[in-house]
Structure formats: C-alpha cells, structure tokens
Symmetry: C2
Subunit: 341 residues, 2 copies
C-alpha cells in the first residue's frame, strides 16, 4: 500500500550515532574505518534491510557501471549468443547490460546510441545496422571518452576496439574444402558489399579459387542473397545456366543456404553428389536439415565474452592502449552437404 521508505545511510548513521560518512566508508569497505565499527554498520545495515541507492552513488562517482549494447535484432541467434556471453562476464563484475535494437535502421541506431550516452554508460558495444549512414554518432561516443567496442559489423575507419570473425579466412577455408571435395564450379552468394564482413568473405572466396588455380567467374557470383527466399531464387537462376555450378557457398547466412537446399532438392538435384552447399553461422537448424548443412561456426558466445573482457581491460589501461582488432578464428563445420568423397 504505502511505499515504505528506503533505508539510507543517514538512517543507519542516526541509529548508530555515527556520521553518514563513516557508514559510507564501512559499506564501501574502506580502510579508513575501524574494524569493529565496520562490522557493526554492516550488521545494522543488514537488519535495516539497507540497499544502496545506485543512482546517488553513480552520480557522485560520475560513473555508471553499465554497458550499452546495440544490435540489429536481439532475437537473432548470433546476437543473442553474443549478449549471453557478454552478460556472463559483465555480471560477475557487477556491471549491467542495457540492451537496444536498431532493427537495422540507421536513424534508430542513432537514437539509441544517444540515449545510452545520456546515461553515462561506461561503454557501448555495437554491431551496426545494415542500413547505411554516417557514423557521427559513434564518433561522438569517442569524443565523450566513452568506451566503444564494435563487433562483427564494424565501421573500419573508426579507431576503436573491434571484435570480428576472420571472415576472409573462414571463407577461404570453406572454399578450399569444397575444392578438396572435388567441386569445380563453385558459386558464391554475396551479402551487401557495404558491409565489410561480406566484402571479406568474397575476398576469401576469390583468394581460395586463385590459390588453387581456378578461374574467378563473375557469372558465378550472385549479389544480395541473404535470406532463405533470395537464396532459393539465386539457386534457380544459377542452376538454369548453361554450365551450372556444382557447389554453392552461401556466404551470407545459413538461411540462404537453406533456401539453396530447398530449391535444389525441389528440382531433384542430389546433395552433396550433384551440388555441394556450404552456409555461414552455424545456426542450430543446420544440423537438422537433410542432409545436414556444412557451415562456419563463429563462436558467438565466446565472442561475447571476449568483448566483455576487452572492456574491462581497456578500463584498467584507461584507454592508453592501441585500439586493436581482435580476430576470432571461426571454424568450418563439415557436414553432409559438402561431403561427397
């Protein structure tokens, strides 16, 4: 019914006939306080059910042990895993996570970043929206001296910590594997080339072909196929060619790979005998399809943890370290869809 007044350090001080400052020191485990007094305060605080007012504390200290997280969508497997890993690290340090979605919309991203800055968060962790736009808002974060860690989809030019997958290497490995399995005309489903990650994957694809002496053919590279539907459409187009590909690397996502699988199966094409398929992300469903889909695991939970650790490391070094890029090495998960030997 009636909001029972919160116990403050003043209440405790009064009860014990102490100054509030002493109570504060006792509670913050300062060494400028007598051990007995400290014990007494602690005991009384517990009895009175004292809970620190975090906002007052943060205001005074000028800090806020909170990390803002901005992702395109929370309910995407990759991102929710990142958050899960991150939370594990931050919780143990007594830090909070404030989560925001940009919904892939740039203006919304700007909004949420501003909101986070107002709260004086100690850091912002972001994977930028697919929609292109200026990165002034991120520059502002840096100007304010707020930690900024980018992951996965990053703005290259900004000098921040970046935690990314080695997309180049992953793509290279995937294509190399396809070649080793005897596939000779390997098609690529590309993602939006504005995003760095997709450019890198393409480069890896090209490099692997060249390294093994295979031609890089423009006709085998299909742009913007990053949903299941687009993957299916791309597949139909590709398979109608005079010399259709004998493998498709859906570098965009496993969803695209699924589209490939369904479209090809519908046409009566055998996987992996007639067509090899490799996806990207290691979505849970790739294990379940028939045949199961080879793909690339990004260690997303690990990535989240790495981001958290970076944040705390940088806090300690107070920003004097060189902002470097951490490359998490992804792992090729070979499954049935590419094993024909």
């Amino acid at each position: 019914m009636n909001r029972q007044k919160r116990t403050t350090i003043y209440d405790i001080a009064q009860k014990l006939n102490l100054a509030a400052s002493s109570v504060s020191r006792a509670l913050s485990n300062s060494d400028k306080i007598n051990a007995e007094t400290k014990a007494l305060v602690l005991k009384t605080a517990a009895e009175m059910n004292y809970q620190q007012n975090t906002m007052a504390s943060n205001l005074r200290k000028g800090s806020n042990p909170t990390i803002g997280v901005v992702v395109p969508r929370i309910n995407q497997y990759f991102f929710s895993n990142i958050i899960a890993g991150l939370e594990e690290v931050t919780f143990n340090k007594g830090y909070n996570l404030v989560i925001c979605q940009s919904n892939e919309v740039h203006s919304r991203e700007v909004e949420v970043v501003n909101a986070l800055m107002n709260q004086n968060v100690s850091g912002i962790v972001i994977s930028i929206a697919a929609e292109k736009g200026s990165s002034d808002h991120l520059q502002q974060v840096l100007d304010r001296n707020i930690q900024l860690i980018q992951f996965d989809r990053v703005v290259e030019e900004l000098e921040t910590f970046k935690v990314v997958n080695d997309n180049y290497k992953a793509a290279y490995e995937a294509v190399k594997h396809l070649i080793e399995q005897g596939y000779r005309r390997i098609a690529l489903l590309e993602g939006p080339q504005e995003l760095h990650i997709f450019r890198e994957r393409k480069e890896g694809y090209v490099a692997a072909l060249q390294a093994h002496g295979y031609p890089v053919l423009a006709e085998l590279m299909y742009a913007n196929a990053w949903t299941k539907e687009l993957g299916a459409i791309a597949t139909s187009k590709l398979l109608e060619m005079e010399q259709p590909p004998d493998a498709i690397f859906a570098s965009t996502s496993d969803f695209a790979a699924l589209g490939v699988l369904e479209a090809a199966t519908a046409k009566g094409i055998r996987i992996p005998e007639d067509l090899g398929i490799c996806g990207y992300s290691n979505e849970p469903f790739t294990e379940i399809t028939s045949p199961s889909i080879s793909t690339i695991d990004q260690f997303s939970v690990e990535m989240g943890k790495t981001i958290g650790n970076l944040h705390f490391q940088e806090m300690e070094n107070s920003g004097m370290v060189i902002k470097k890029t951490v490359n998490i090495k992804p792992k090729l998960m070979v499954r049935k869809s590419t094993q024909r030997i």
Copy 2:
C-alpha cells in the same frame, strides 16, 4: 585524450544569464516558462551539445525509467523474442531494458533481482528459473512497491500480473488434433512438474483424452524429457513397450520432439504414418525437419509487447487495479508430422 567536461544546465544558465531552474524548466517543457526563453534555452542547449545527466535526474525524481528483465537464458528463442517485443514497446516510451540471465539457477536469480532493486528500476519482468527455491526475493520486490510482472513460468501464489500462455488449452488442442488424425495411444513427454506450465500441459492432455473417451494411462506418461537427448531416450523406451504409442506429444519443447523424430526415424519408423509427433514452442527448426514437426506457437514477440503495455498501464493506474492474469492463446501449427489423413 582529456575528458571534455559535460555541459550541465548550470553552464547553459551562466551563458544565458539565467537561473538553472529556468533552464531546467525550459528543457523539461514546463509551462512556467516563457516561450521565447524556452526556445532560446533549447537552441543554446543544442549548440553546447547538452545531454541530460540521467542519473542526477533520476536521483532527484526518485524514479528510474528502466525495466529489469530476468530470464533463464537470453539466447533461447522464446526468451529473446519476448525481449525483442518488450524492447519495442519500452523504447518508444523512453524506457530502458536491463537484461539479466538466471541461468536456471535460483541463487543467481536472487542476486540479479537484488541488483535490479538497488537500481530503483520501475519494474521487473521475470520468468523464474527451473531450479526450485523460495520466492522471498520476489515478495520483496512487491514490498518495495516495484512493479512485478511474471511471465511464462510464474509463481502462482504471488499476487502480480502474470502473462502466460494458455498451456492447458494448447495441450488440449494438440491432443484433440492427434485424436482427430486417428491416433489412439498418445504418449506424453512431461516437463518438471514443479513448474506450473508443465502441470497445465499435462492437465490439458488428460482432459482431451477423457473428453474423447480414451483412457489415461500412466505408462504413456514419461517424466522429465525436456531436451533432445532425453526425448530420444524416452522414445526408445516407449517404442519398446508391448503396446507402443502411436503418437507422442512432446509437451516440453520442440527439442524433445526433435529427439523423438530422430530416434524414431533411426528405428525405421515412419512419421506420421506409424507415429505422430507434436512439439511445443514453434522453434524455427520445426519447419525444416523432414517431416516438419507440428507444434504450438506461443506468439512470443506479442507476449513481450503485452508485458510492456501492461507495465505502462499499471503505472498509470498506480497499482490500484486487480492484478490479473493475461492468457495469451497459443496456436496449434499443424505440420507434416501429425497429418496422416
């Protein structure tokens, strides 16, 4: 390099030769301020790149437009969807979401709830951990007059808003559907009966059988099968019976249903002809398996939105309304694994 000092209302006041209070009023769009002055302040604030110190504001106002969310695991499809829906509603109201995971561990749940209380969050949204334990921490939330909304897995006894699926009805519908498809010995995979949701599902199962004149057989009810592995084991056991079931309702999760599917397929049993399978949750992969799995959609994003709306409604009514339970009606998704007519 050097942390540039934040602009405060005092800086603006000084520049404009005003009192801080006037600046504050202008910024908070009070009506006790001249329109011209207001405009001037707003303009100057923008020029000086003023950003409100949220902590100071919250401290003074004694409120914190933040909702704490406690879920067992963030990276479970159902929960991340809840959060996604919730975020949509709260962001538009200028509220923050602080996300915590209990990892299904009760002590951890208590910890995070305490941390949230300290921050004076205006509300806590929770789905309790599977591990059993006291609900004192939740009672304390109520005592503090902090909004508490439970969803999905709820503590019945606590008088709070509850947003749940109508598990009874969903299970009833699923079993009814199985019966209509001609299945006669329908087994049930149960979840931990400490959790209300699983009890309700069992009740729905029993009721549907009875309503259609079929016996309720203890031998067909298999306890605690809520992972893929346990689902597979349960299936092996069930299929070894003298009179094996001709359908299995994995009321625990789609993962269990997947285990059933794999175990049965491995034994050469045809789905849906020899065995019908129905899961629960509408995980994305249920569409993809072969055959696709019938399941129950919980409208998780909608649920998240509902929770958000409830929070704001209750804020307005300042807790004088009756704490009611909102039942979201789930929907049976009929797919191939149960369609044999």
